[in-house]
Symmetry: C2
Subunit: 165 residues, 2 copies
Amino acid sequence: MNTSADAPLGNIEILAPLCSVFRRFLKERNLRYTQERADVLDAVMATDGLFEAEGLLAEVRARSAHTVSKATVYRTLRLLQEAGIITPTLIDPKQTHYQLVYGRTPADTLVCMETGQHVALRSAEIEALRNKLAEEHGWTVTGHRFVIYGISPDASTNTRPDPSA
Amino acid sequence: MNTSADAPLGNIEILAPLCSVFRRFLKERNLRYTQERADVLDAVMATDGLFEAEGLLAEVRARSAHTVSKATVYRTLRLLQEAGIITPTLIDPKQTHYQLVYGRTPADTLVCMETGQHVALRSAEIEALRNKLAEEHGWTVTGHRFVIYGISPDASTNTRPDPSA
DNA sequence: GTCGGTGCAAATGCTTTGCATTGAT
DNA sequence: ATCAATGCAAAGCATTTGCACCGAC
């Protein structure tokens, strides 16, 4: 429940240097590139679209034999954020979701209210609109988040999923 | 820290019937219209733009002499949500923010990364873009959330606020 | 008079932190 | 060797819930 369906992401040319970006970031701060941090970054790269801490922990554990603690996952998520590799996405008030952003405009998302499925979007128009609106108010833009809630074709095909929402 | 600057909201013609809307909603569900619920709704109407639970509690206590508990504020927030009067806004991963939505398109927001200040926006273009994007993916839209992060003119005027972020 | 509502305090669940041990450089 | 990172378990917070008493209908 933490990956999207047909997200056009997962660009390998972009993913490869992520590891170096992270290492460089760590070195700059006199922090160490550890096995655990590498494992977490790998798991992040394996997700395409969105993920949250708990799911990432599961992913880390599934991919590598090492045990990585929840605390380390959270600590690494913070570093990845500071390194500009991921960004929080605020889809769900109960949990923080993140997405890979390094090397691309933060993807906007389409979230299904019934299945929880999400699809990452990209649209230059969003950015243009954002810039226009901020400018009208005299603000300097640093970023944005655009989430569209809806019913996915998959969900509307099925009879009647869980109505608790 | 829970109200906006120049939000063009706070429309009295819309606010007046809110109370009846809420009463009708409660009656339909065989729930009671209590003093505490009225106080919370009043406080919600007094905010223009965004608010969160803790701030709302303070507002309730400031406006009415009655004591309303935190639990009741949270319980009432849920009812107001179910009544379609407010909606969660997801600006901050640590706390749920809400906004009044009854009778209007949910306002989109401009959030200042330095001062925390926020301004509610309205733009038909956002909605149009939203509909277009969802349609392209074959989804049925039920709503959206658009948050622009930036630096407000107020903040950029000041020398150098808190750089922790 | 009857349920539903309220306040309080305890419970939850995500996220963060203190501390002793382990490990990258 | 040194200094930071890890894991664990405990602490922190926003939010929710159980329960006994109170109040709207």
